[in-house]
Point group: C5
């Protein structure tokens, strides 16, 4: 156990030893194990965008074994996916890599005004499949936020009693937010804070832009001179918003982009104090060799940034 | 136990021996038992379309005994029906053929904008009636998809713990899908993927057309040159979308049609890697002798296709 | 136990001996006990239409004792009523006549677009009050049909485990049905089929008219030449629609009418294979002596029709 | 135990000895104990109308002790109030007077189209606070009647199993009723019948007017010549509508009015066979001495009317 | 135990010794412990307004340790916060200060017409984290008030059985209230009464204005000459509305304002009989030294007012 992992675990004083053990497993697995940084491979796009849009570009990905092998071969800290994909590999790869069961999911055959995911699996599923934690998406800003917050509160309560880690994907979206507002720095920081207040161990947000969405927030960003010009500044502000850095916050890769753009962005995130990346399409839609190289560069960027 | 059945069972590593036993029962029963292919007789049309539209053409079918006898005499792998029809035959035909209890149903005395079936029976019913599995219809694309996915997640969770097989009828339908879109190749493949991700053991979809419904999907079908011109191509793509063929996917017969058209279509499905057929009206609305001949030809088409 | 009652019980092979015992009690009680026919006195009009509209014409009926005594004195097979009326007589008349607890009810102080009854009592009430079964109203065609089917599925499941009989009043009604359609032959037959598929032991429908409501049904009624001209024809078709006569289906008396009209209608129902009548207002709104005479004539019509 | 109380208890043959004991306690307490009549002091106006509107006129009433002392000193049969008011006195006045916990309540900071009260306490609260029964308001005619009837069915079921008495306040109100219709004789009688059919032991309604609201009812009131001209006539009809007088029905005082008007009305109610009064604002908004005098006159009016 | 604390505890005769113990802990902790007055530090603004608006002005506040230390160093009676903030400090500060877990929360990324908070934690959380009580916000006047009252009724029931104290934040708000009406004296007093009737041990409201919102109330305020001109008058009226002073009612600080304005207001509240303050932004957004001075002055104002 490295001093840094031990330090991070000390922030979670309300959790039982079971949950601390699983948080430690997540932090200690893979190429950058022990650094306190995390690079996770998530594959829920088959559910979220459909199979062709997700896997046709690199058709090996139709097979659920492809992704867990990519996560293993690239030395990621964990692999996250919905029930079907996890059930398809849990026995054959038992104990090889920490698994995160994505317990709620959305699809895009219907696009609602009030986004909310469906609860497609549960804590008992996570336990019988040997997972280290659950993943849960919330959409702060949605008309249905009350229901969502109560669903994660319930799932999180059960998960914590069962000694699992709770990872919350926080994606602000809804009627009173503009499209640009979904990644505005004030909104992303607020979404991260909400996830922390809901009791998440690990929060996942999108990389924030310098846009400020809410007028009440803008006044404060200006009067208090909160820096939001560079990605590094913004990541620092998001990390602050996660209990002054005492909750793990990681960032998605977003839309597919070139390797160099991606690595540039990742380095800024690492410099800002980000705890890592969760990178799906940017990884599994490339040929496996390229994907592994990319994931290694991402891991290195975070591991080398220190804290 | 044939090597093929053993191979198929190996894909379901997360399931308990009870469920594997029932999956084996389904695959080992009937004329093509052991081939890894399935031809199932489903009779829920009395509920879905009413008694006259379903049974008047071949009035023997008003009697629930008719259908299970047809399934038995034609050597089908299983018989699927709603609670009333199963209760009416379960004792007298106990142990003669695997039964699938259709646990949700819709009728057409009211046609809603947001399709969703009612939960008309449950896992305890399936167990007390000696069923091997449950059948469940989802309508991806419906406004009520969250509720439906949670209902199947709950029923599936209970069924798996009770050692039952879970068969999901996946029929995309809803406000944002056109009529043609309901059987579009991208939509059918997506609906099949969703059912797999929800943890279905066996997925049932309609035969897909070459129409592509969603713009975001069309770009990928074109750029990645996914073949969708022939039924064989399309079935292959749907099989790929079911975890690269590692989940059983079977196809409905659709509207009543001539025997030759039907057999042509079935052969293409078999050639594309489809695991079988689920054929209701095309079977029970013909005189029994003709129905048995038809079902034999369908069974043979699948059994002879190999894998 | 007569051979006919034994034969009817043989149709319910999925039920436990407790439920068979209660079905036998219903069929064996009263003047036509053992014939396999049923005449039941139902009194839920106080709830459904209000006390004055129900009881002012024959004011003895304000008293809950009046109705159970009418049922006893006229030799009916059973007495059906909501919680309040049953609670008011259950101890004093314990064991004198089979009771059916009507577990859901509607009133007419508010007339909704989407009809659905309220669950006003439950299976435990039926047991503590010594009832032989529960009565439940569904409105196929209502926007709220999903909720209703799930409520009856749940109540029926509990009732069957507790050894009670399940009687379903099936009254199609809703936004997409015309007023005439509510008693159209296709709709009544469909409503009866739905009740059977939901697992009802006994189905109660209104006498069907020769009107055909749904276009998709009309084609079949015409092409298959289903006879619907006489009440006898129509009753036969409804009986067919109840699992080819292997579920008990009985008919209501409808609006108050003259004795001769009523007896004429009843005779046609009996000739068509109907299993009996459930007659409320036509009975309890007449002077008791007349009511008893009427009920005897109804009972005789069914008992003499044979099967 | 007086013969009259014993007679009344005999009407509740479905209830357990616990509930009979509590009904007897209600009937045997206070100045007119044993007469079979009931005068109850209810104080839920703080919740329903706010503290100033309820208590400013007689400011002693801000203190929860005031009301239970008024009930005691005036010799009422029972005191009814919401959770907060009962919790505030239950220990200090334990065993001194029967308490009725009002388990649902509404406030008037929002006036909805579809009236329905909130469940603010439960049967366990009633038991831990030593209450003899629960009070429950229904609004027949409300769009939300199904939910309300199911809430009272559930609460009543629990209460009866726990040996408590069930008092239902039945206030018809809703979109399809006019303001005058809320106290129309046909509507009040119907509301009383519904409460009885729902299994209430004691029903509380408003004094009915001679207005007839529903056309279908008017025909019957006219053809059957139901008398509704005097309050005595109307009360008699409401008593008839409560199972021909075999359920206890009591009447509210309504809006504050002069003592003489009030006593006149009460005497007519008593003469019509009403079982008593439930009188809040008319009592606690007067100086205590006057209130006690008034309550004594009300009690005397009922006790002297006989039955 | 001071006589005053003992007196206050005597008002809660319905509560078990566990709850009395926790109420005593709240009253006995801190600089004014034993006085029967309470000054509480609440920090839920990160959830309610977002991290930047809450903490940027005094950035130490991003760290959850800052606030509990401020509460400790300033000698507050208790510290109240949502799950995340409490989990982050509960182990390291175990036993140092009474904690109140705020079990429901709202955010402002979506502003609904019908305000209602989400249940973000529960009674088991409060127990495992060593809290003395739960905090709960209701919005009387909201379209969703029924749901809210039932949620607090349920949480309060569980909390009381577990020996916890129940603190209700009562903020009237909704479609039928004007903006000014939210703090109108009639509305604030009504909101306080509702919280008391719901069974709250401690009620928290905003300082009332002299505006009167509801016409039905205005008549009474005028006819009964209820004084509402000064803050002292109004606080007295609110205290009266809380069971004539037999429930603890405390007041928020509202919008950030100057120290002198704030202390003036607090002194009037103390003079009117208010039991204390709950002061968030006015405290933690100042430099810590200033905040401690302010909180001391507030505490002194209440402690010196006597009762």
């Amino acid at each position: 156990m490295t001093p840094r992992v031990r330090e991070i675990l000390s922030w979670y004083g309300a959790d039982n030893p079971g949950t601390l053990t699983n948080l430690a497993r997540l932090m200690n697995h893979g190429r950058i194990g022990g650094s306190g940084k995390l690079v996770i491979l998530p594959v829920d796009q088959g559910f979220e965008h459909g199979p062709a849009r997700s896997f046709a570009k690199n058709p090996g990905g139709y097979d659920p074994r492809y992704h867990i092998e990519l996560a293993l071969e690239s030395g990621c800290n964990a692999y996250a996916a919905p029930l079907g994909f996890i059930e398809a590999v849990a026995r054959d790869y038992a104990g090889e890599i920490p698994l995160i069961l994505k317990v709620n999911n959305s699809d895009t055959l219907y696009n609602p005004k009030a986004p909310i995911s469906a609860l497609t699996s549960n804590i008992d599923d996570a336990l019988r499949l040997g997972c280290t934690g659950i993943g849960f998406t919330i959409y702060p800003g949605s008309t249905d936020r009350k229901q969502m917050y109560e669903e994660i509160a319930h799932a999180s309560d059960e998960a914590k009693r069962a000694g699992l880690a709770v990872v919350v994907w926080s994606y602000p979206r809804g009627e009173q937010l503009s499209k640009a507002g979904e990644t505005a720095i004030d909104v992303i920081a607020y979404g991260a804070q909400i996830a922390c207040q809901l009791g998440a161990h690990i929060v996942k947000v999108k990389p924030p832009s310098s846009h400020i969405e809410q007028e009440a927030a803008r006044k404060v960003y200006e009067s208090e001179k909160i820096k939001v010009d560079t990605m590094t500044d913004r990541i620092k502000h998001v990390v602050d918003s996660c209990f002054a850095g005492r909750r793990i916050v990681i960032f998605s890769g977003g839309e597919t982009k070139s390797t160099n753009e991606l690595i540039d962005e990742v380095k800024q995130m690492a410099q800002g104090g980000g705890f890592g990346s969760i990178m799906g399409r940017n990884a599994f839609q490339r040929p496996k060799k390229e994907a592994i190289e990319l994931l290694h560069r991402v891991q290195d960027a975070f591991a080398q940034a220190g804290h």
